[in-house]
């Protein structure tokens, strides 16, 4: 399709703050399953019909369990996967098929914070070299400028005094410091979008908040757009305005974070919220209500609503047959669920408790 993205974004006059930074239209990320290497067996439908917009400076959280397709969605935004169908539009241009130079330019526009900092940092490179690589690759030839940018990035993530860290190898740093290096590397090319894939799940509870605050500070200072991917709802409040709940390759609920916490609509969201523990001694006295079973295989997902085999409000003959509609029972609160077809605006209580 279109591959006419200019290497220099400043030369594109159509871009202003009102255009969404990223627009995802009808996105399908499917992976082909093959037998003996060539005969087609089926598709893993990791992301199925996802639509959303991400504005400049906005932070979105995507919440879901492992295997729900959130990482596939993220990797597609980074163009590590190609969409099977649909479009990813960056500042008004379709980028789904970028190649060569254009692709390199696009990747300099998005930063990636990996989940496991130790795994994401090359063990044989000192911090200085880890941070200079993206600059060298993206043609910052002046050595002095590189030094300056490295120092600036390290100061920004509070790896100070900088000289103490420049020559250290990843294994000499604590988990929190490693994650700071990963963040510095993601930020060093001054991207417009930061994709953070469970950035704190491998860290100790005591430093999680520190890293989340750092990400929020960077977001505010640089007017960054952030995609924050997590399975932990209690950290979401920290720095995202909107939240998407994903289940088995589909977005099932999209709304503002406070609205989601106070008025969750989709049965899966409700299950996630009940499943999240808060420290309270009374927890030990009763069992948690957890939906039975496990997330479905994405090769052969259930018909109709993909959550129906585990749902406490399952409507036979409807949920298992027809795909749930895209409803907006309250302004700005989108849910894909048959329960809200009749204009209901809150989650129905379950009688048998």
């Amino acid at each position: 399709m279109t591959t006419d993205v200019q290497a220099n974004p400043a030369a594109n006059p159509a871009v202003d703050e009102s255009t969404p930074l990223i627009e995802v239209k009808d996105l399908h990320v499917w992976f082909e399953l093959k037998k003996w290497g060539f005969s087609h067996v089926g598709w893993v439908r990791a992301v199925d019909n996802v639509n959303f917009q991400l504005k400049h400076g906005e932070a979105i959280a995507i919440v879901g369990e492992s295997g729900c397709g959130k990482s596939s969605l993220m990797k597609t935004l980074l163009l590590l996967n190609r969409p099977h169908k649909g479009q990813v539009i960056y500042e008004g241009k379709d980028i789904s098929n970028l190649k060569g130079k254009d692709l390199k330019w696009y990747r300099s526009q998005v930063g990636y914070v990996q989940q496991d900092p130790y795994g994401a940092l090359p063990p044989f490179m000192p911090v200085h070299r880890i941070l200079s690589e993206p600059l060298v690759i993206n043609g910052v030839k002046n050595k002095k400028e590189r030094e300056e940018r490295i120092r600036q990035a390290m100061e920004e993530v509070a790896l100070t005094p900088v000289d103490d860290f420049l020559n250290k190898y990843p294994h000499m740093l604590s988990g929190g410091q490693q994650q700071r290096v990963v963040i510095a590397r993601a930020m060093i090319l001054e991207p417009k979008l930061l994709v953070a894939d469970e950035p704190v799940s491998m860290l100790d509870a005591s430093v999680r908040v520190e890293i989340l605050r750092l990400l929020r500070k960077l977001q505010e200072q640089h007017n960054l757009s952030v995609m924050y991917i997590t399975h932990d709802l209690s950290t979401v409040r920290f720095f995202s305005e909107r939240i998407f709940v994903m289940y088995a390759g589909k977005l099932v609920e999209q709304t503002h974070i406070e609205e989601l916490l106070n008025n969750p609509l989709h049965p899966y969201t409700v299950a996630l919220l009940t499943g999240t523990s808060v420290p309270d001694a009374s927890n030990a006295k009763h069992l948690k209500r957890v939906p039975p079973g496990e997330p479905p295989s994405l090769v052969n997902p259930p018909t109709g609503c993909r959550f129906h085999p585990r749902c406490e409000h399952f409507i036979s003959g409807k949920c298992d047959v027809e795909e749930p509609p895209h409803l907006e029972p309250l302004p700005g609160h989108i849910v894909n669920c048959w329960l809200y077809e009749d204009g209901r605006t809150s989650y129905p209580k379950v009688a048998s408790e």
Binding site: D204, V209, T276, P279, A281, K288, V290
Partner: protein
């Protein structure tokens, strides 16, 4: 000690030898666990939590420097047993363990059912058929479909593998199960599910647990008592009710404040700095450098004070509270 005590640790010490000196991973730990109760060991990574589990079950690496103290299991000091006696009489018979990342601890070339049955064959002297029957029961107890008996670990999801590891720890019907981070690698709903399984087992069979974790929120799902560990030492032991409302030690307070909550306006806080190296821990209070309530006295090592019946290792409670005679300063006669 009363009849209800299942396990009592007295001045338990486990140091590791390294080329740079001794790592004081478990430093004079005292702890008591009652029957059918669960005690949670909380702390950041590198505080010696897992080493304590290893010290209790005598699953030691080769580089042990010092290992002494008392491990009293129903009044009997199991430290007096030889390694072989310990293996035959205690490990897996009286107490078993679900190791950290249990999902990777399973043998990849054995079917799940065979692995679960193995301890029953070795320790209960059952033949294979009986043991497999028992394994089937265990699978039902932990909520694994029975036809998974013949599957290999790679065919199971993470949550299912974790359940298999729990079934394996359960099969010999031990009185105590040590759980080392049983849910940290799992998804939220799977976590909640496993916690439900553990609770049900506790209620139905009267098993006791030692749960080692850094996840405070999840730990509250199981805890009757909470012991907070910092830099190899236990700094606070408290019942769950009071701990989750009002922890006593400043470290516990900071830990509680670092938990993000779903509701409420309180913004969580982090603990600056990181735990000291156990190679050469600071003299005085080990938390002093990171403590927001530090004062002059903290340069000296605090004794353990009894605050409303709860041991707390902090100078803040010196006034009006009785200190326990620290046996740590005496001669460790059990070796």
């Amino acid at each position: 000690m009363n009849d209800n005590t299942l396990l009592k640790l007295e001045d338990l010490v486990l140091y590791f030898k390294t080329s740079r000196g001794e790592v004081q991973a478990v430093d004079h730990v005292n702890l008591e666990l009652h029957k059918n109760k669960a005690v949670v060991i909380l702390g950041e990574s590198g505080c010696g939590k897992s080493s304590m589990a290893k010290a209790i079950l005598r699953l030691l690496p080769r580089n042990v420097g010092q290992y002494h103290g008392k491990v009293l299991l129903e009044d009997f000091d199991v430290m007096s047993l030889s390694d072989e006696e310990f293996r035959r009489q205690v490990r897996w018979v009286k107490m078993s363990m679900v190791p950290q990342a249990a999902m990777n601890a399973l043998n990849p070339v054995l079917r799940a059912g065979e692995q679960v049955a193995e301890p029953a064959m070795i320790h209960l002297g059952m033949d294979k058929e009986e043991a497999l029957d028992l394994a089937r029961q265990m699978f039902e107890n932990v909520g694994v479909p029975v036809d998974f008996l013949t599957r290999y670990p790679f065919e199971l999801s993470g949550g299912m593998r974790q359940r298999v590891a729990i079934a394996m720890a359960l099969i010999t019907k031990p009185q105590l199960i040590v759980l080392d981070e049983p849910t940290s690698a799992l998804d939220l709903l799977t976590q909640a599910n496993i916690m439900n399984v553990l609770k049900t087992i506790k209620w139905e069979t009267g098993t006791s647990y030692i749960l080692i974790t850094h996840d405070i929120a999840t730990s509250s799902e199981l805890a009757d008592e909470v012991a907070v560990m910092y830099a190899g030492q236990i700094v606070e032991i408290n019942d769950a009710e009071s701990f989750f409302q009002e922890p006593l030690h400043p470290y516990s307070q900071r830990l509680m404040a670092s938990v993000p909550r779903l509701y409420g306006d309180e913004e969580p806080d982090f603990i600056p700095g990181r735990p000291p190296s156990l190679l050469n821990p600071p003299t005085g209070c080990r938390f002093a450098d990171r403590c927001h309530l530090r004062f002059d006295k903290c340069d000296e090592e605090p004794p353990t004070f009894i605050v409303d019946g709860h041991p707390v290792k902090c100078w803040l409670y010196e006034k009006d509270h009785q200190a326990v005679e620290s046996a740590a300063t005496g001669t460790g006669d059990a070796s």
